[in-house]
Assembly symmetry: C2
Homo-oligomer: 360 residues x 2
């Protein structure tokens, strides 16, 4: 009996997905040619829907690759000739930095401890690209939007790349202050894994074209110029995950129907329920101590010595938390708070946590 | 009313796929963590099944990426320092060559006209990697296995990379004579697109490790050493297309249940039906004139001037051929002959073609 899967990714499916899959098979989507007008209509519907949902302006393009991990690679490859600057505060922001090293760039980093945010956007030099992990899935630290948006003024020449893998569609980004934004569909969009969405503006495209002209190796089929030239035809360079793209188009429709304002308000309500309990709990506490840096989409709970009581008691009520990341596996639990999660699931979660506390 | 989809990719789904998808959703596969024991069991089941189905020896590893197009890139990146040699006889073998150019290598090619095979394996020099497109999906030319297997002796130092995207599981490769083999699941395996399977031996792994040590840029998350180190844990570096991998494991089970010998015999029978008709037809002929080079898995038909009669008449019976590739769109049709296609579909196809001929 699963009441709720709180693993931060792949996470719980959005409740409409099963029906969309049924319809997809009925309509022959899984064997659809990626060069057909029907595919182009799905591509179009997905990009139009995402533009409306996230408020993406016309000077941004949307392209599809296979994962956010791939976008770490493609964004460094296509947007950096020599050096990027990474704000690192956990495993995933560090991994983005490491990808730049592996691709033979010379990345720099500003680093704070796990669970912390950054006190300043100041760093030396004029990096080609600044990499921000807006929501650190490993620690539950979220960079405040005011912080993300502050980089444009301080570094007008730099491209600002924002990893919002485990927060979108929740944050309302100001697209005037960022250049590259990306996510994968198995988190906030409640879909099966296998698709990464990369949103880039014309400055990014110009930079990748400049690198290509300078004979920098920017890849083959998934260079930004190649992705963009196919996107203009509402296609992808390779045979993509057609079913995944179709399902994304459908869930984006569902989100639009519900309304992004309602999605955001409900996300905040559910997060508040759990943080409110955590703030006064005896058996656990929030891992992120500064409220300003607490993620509303991935809540990380420090369990003190009560892990062996909490997990079985949650599981007994059909509630499955995500493990703590890496070394924190034995002391922390993570709770995804995505549009697929309901108010009722969060109420049951808090009630159950409370019961565990009362009994201990 | 669709009786048969003969497009060579994405093609008709294998008849069991729909049920496997239903079971996948029932069992929570689409939101399964890619770091869970259940995922590892799916990974294991897929590789064990593929080894048995294709006779893959122990010194070969199997890794999963997102498309065969990606494998073109990863294989050049990881296995070539300076130069590869490509046998080019159509759009896809040319594309593999072009990927090597884009990745700043200095590829060479032996080229023959579309629709032709190669008379010899002779070329100058000692290439690091020899790229063979065993089945040219654009033209319906298949390289005979004896030709594919002849390279080892002539070029003992070279890595032999075989693109079998639109022929596997049909060809029975001698793994002693090749080093790298790959395919994507939306063709012969009858699955939704979004997964590429790459089979490499220890020589390939050693080569990629040597390049890494020499500070050649071999990528980040999908380098061969990274893919292999995760594969040893029955995992992938990134969150993969978990549902796609699960479906592959299930269809491989189905193929094993049917038996590879039966699959191969039935493929040959269906191909023979169509080629036999084409050899004596008045309204069409096989595009590949030399029988030794005719593909059993993608049959390309030259339609003379009868295209405008043939397509509507086929469609009227629910038969949907694939378009000719590129410029051949107006004169050719392509017929995939994969395990998902039945004897009855091929008999109906030949009967219908015959009726069209009689009436014209």
């Amino acid at each position: 009996m699963t009441q709720a899967n709180f693993t931060p990714g792949p996470s719980q499916l959005y409740f409409t997905v099963k029906d969309h899959v049924r319809r997809a098979f009925r309509d022959g989507i899984p064997s659809l040619s990626h060069r057909s007008p029907t595919f182009e209509a799905i591509f179009e519907s997905t990009t139009v829907g995402l533009r409306e949902l996230l408020g993406i302006p016309d000077d941004f393009s949307i392209v599809f690759v296979s994962s956010a991990t791939e976008i770490w690679e493609r964004s460094i490859q296509n947007l950096v000739e020599e050096s990027s600057l990474h704000f690192v505060n956990g495993a995933f922001s560090y991994r983005y930095f490491e990808v730049a090293q592996q691709l033979m760039k010379k990345p720099m980093k500003v680093e704070v401890a796990d669970g912390k945010g950054f006190s300043s956007n100041e760093a030396d030099g004029n990096p080609e690209l600044i990499a921000l992990t807006q929501n650190e899935t490993s620690t539950g630290v979220s960079l405040p939007l005011s912080f993300v948006h502050s980089f444009r003024q301080r570094y007008p020449q730099s491209l600002i790349a924002v990893d919002a893998v485990s927060s979108l569609p929740y944050p309302a980004f100001d697209f005037n202050t960022i250049d590259s934004l990306f996510f994968s569909v198995q988190k906030g969009f409640g879909l099966p894994a296998g698709l990464g969405v990369w949103i880039v503006n014309d400055r990014c495209i110009a930079k990748s074209e400049k690198l290509l002209t300078s004979r920098v190796n920017i890849g083959s089929y998934h260079t930004l110029p190649s992705l963009i030239s196919f996107a203009k035809k509402k296609q992808t360079p390779e045979t993509p995950n057609v079913l995944g793209l179709y399902l994304l188009s459908k869930v984006v429709e569902d989100f639009l129907h519900k309304g992004i304002t309602a999605i955001r308000k409900e996300t905040e309500y559910r997060a508040a329920l759990l943080y409110h309990w955590l703030d006064t709990a005896q058996i656990a506490k929030p891992f992120v101590t500064e409220a300003a840096f607490r993620s509303n989409t991935v809540v990380v709970m420090e369990c003190k010595s009560a892990m062996d009581k909490i997990i079985p008691a949650l599981n007994a009520r059909g509630l499955f938390p995500g493990d703590g990341y890496g070394k924190a596996r034995s002391t922390q639990l993570r709770f995804a708070n995505f549009p697929a999660h309901s108010k009722e699931q969060y109420e049951l979660l808090v009630d159950t946590l409370n019961d565990i506390q009362v009994k201990s």
